[in-house]
Amino acid sequence: MNKTQKFYHSVALNAEKCRGCTNCIKRCPTEAIRVRNGKAHIRAERCIDCGECIKICPHHAKRAIHRHFEDLEGLYEYLVALPAPSLYGQFNNLHNIDFVLNGLLHFGFDDVFEVTRGADMITQYTKILLAEGKLKKPVISSACPAVVRLIRARFPELCQHVLPVAAPYIVAAKLARKAAIAKTGLPAEKIGIILIAPCPAKITDVRMPVGVKTSGIDAVLAIDDIYKGLLNEMNKLEEKDLQPLSQATATGTSWCISGGEARALKQDKYLICNGVENVIEALEETEDGKLDDLDFIELKACTEGCVGGVLTAESPFVTQSRVYRLLKNLPPANDIPKEALPLDILDWTEALEYAPIFQLDGDLTTAVQKMRRLEEIVKTLPGLDCGSCGAPNCRALAEDIVRGESSEHACFFILKNKINRMYQEIAISEHPQEEKPHEK
């Protein structure tokens, strides 16, 4: 990782395809996108890599930067695939997860380590932490990296409520490397731990994790990118020839659908919410103290949870229904005592700190002055929130103007009025004896 780089994002723009429309600027939950000179620009400090802009763009101009299997060639001596459980829901009529895992071996991996194993441990550990009663309630899940980034940027009071435990893919990655070293005797760096992920937020989190120093993951492949090749390998397999590899439990697998994580904790009072707009509403209510009586809050930025990630091959609803069917045949996770849990891997080592990226100015006096100007400017704008200025709404344009990043002439209506006035003045000076020209 480049240490001097302040922000890394997996979500990027393909400028050639961008038509400068207003779809993504309006959808972005952090108002991170502006259209300038006919092209969208993402403000790095604001983007939480939720992938909403990729989902909405009708021109496919937004994409997630991820690796391809071919890129890994020659880099490692032993490749371990880390399939996220959302991968299991991509295949029709799948009743045995070993088809997927054996398929991954035929696809070119040397070994597999399921992300569900990380999820099982986190479930156990969270139950223990909740029982110990030391966490600030309501405890908010830290599993969705887009949600954690949203909290960090917008909800200062809630930073201390976020479960200080690593995400399943990170826990699984670190366990997988240990297991691979024990099995092969290879040095750690010769082992490639490769996550197969459903969303760009996880790609970003792998490069720049929150809460832990390193993710332990060497590269991320997208589910939709390997889907065809993997399916091809799976189709060649006979059930009787499958190696029994899967250790997936119903508990760990259910994490990929909204609610799976929270229900597994068996708490009395919990809240489940998915979809980034709903998540913001839930965070606002939590911040207002309206949900103080809850034990646990599970928030996932994508519709229906991780199965709704933009890098999956199937729709969230179809995947979700398949995962529910799979769950019926899976065993529940076993209880693990605290002593047996890898606390060095599970515990966050870095505190989640509020990053006030929305503040107008570092100095309060200046910020108040800017806010006054902002309010004045808002009054002069038409309030149509049309987006043609390149900002998501009139207020955002006013904010850009105050920040010195745009001007009121970006507003089509203000410009039109100015031109009209200029036109009238010219007309009057050229024909001083005549009446005003007709408007329009």
Partner: protein
């Protein structure tokens, strides 16, 4: 004078689903200003309770907020029934909230005590049959 940001809100007494909107807007504004999380929390709790009281007990009213780099001052004025005994309503647990409001989770009689707890100064002016004006100040850089 350039340092005062003035905000004005009209609180609709008939629309329960909009109740709390003004407090929520102020909270957003303070975040954009980069205020300390602790100040934001105290202002938003105090204002939310005051706003809810306006809706529940006084058919709405108007809120003026002055933001300066030193303090946030909120003035909540209503034309409701007024408060007969201010010491009484300030007691924790005192409430006249009707049953339908209690069913919604209000009526613990903790609103006013919390407004006092979270602000640095709270002043109540009330006249029976005319209305109530509550002024609260939350200082920046000091704890209430």
């Amino acid at each position: 004078m350039n340092e005062i940001l003035k905000l004005h809100y009209v609180v609709d007494g008939n629309n329960f689903s909009l109740a709390g909107q003004a407090a929520s807007d102020v909270k957003k504004m303070l975040k954009t200003l980069g205020m300390a999380p602790d100040v934001i929390r105290r202002v938003s709790i105090a204002m939310y309770e005051g706003e809810m009281n306006m809706v529940i007990h006084a058919d709405g009213g108007e809120i003026d907020v002055d933001v300066t780099p030193k303090a946030v001052v909120m003035r909540l004025a209503d034309r409701g029934p007024g408060i007969a005994d201010i010491d009484l309503v300030m007691q924790e647990g005192y409430s006249t909230a009707p049953d339908d409001i209690r069913a919604l989770g209000f009526g613990a009689g903790m609103g006013l005590p919390n407004m006092k707890k979270y602000s640095n100064d709270l002043k109540i002016e009330s006249q029976l049959g005319i209305g109530t004006t509550i002024t609260m100040r939350v200082d920046i850089n000091s704890r209430g």
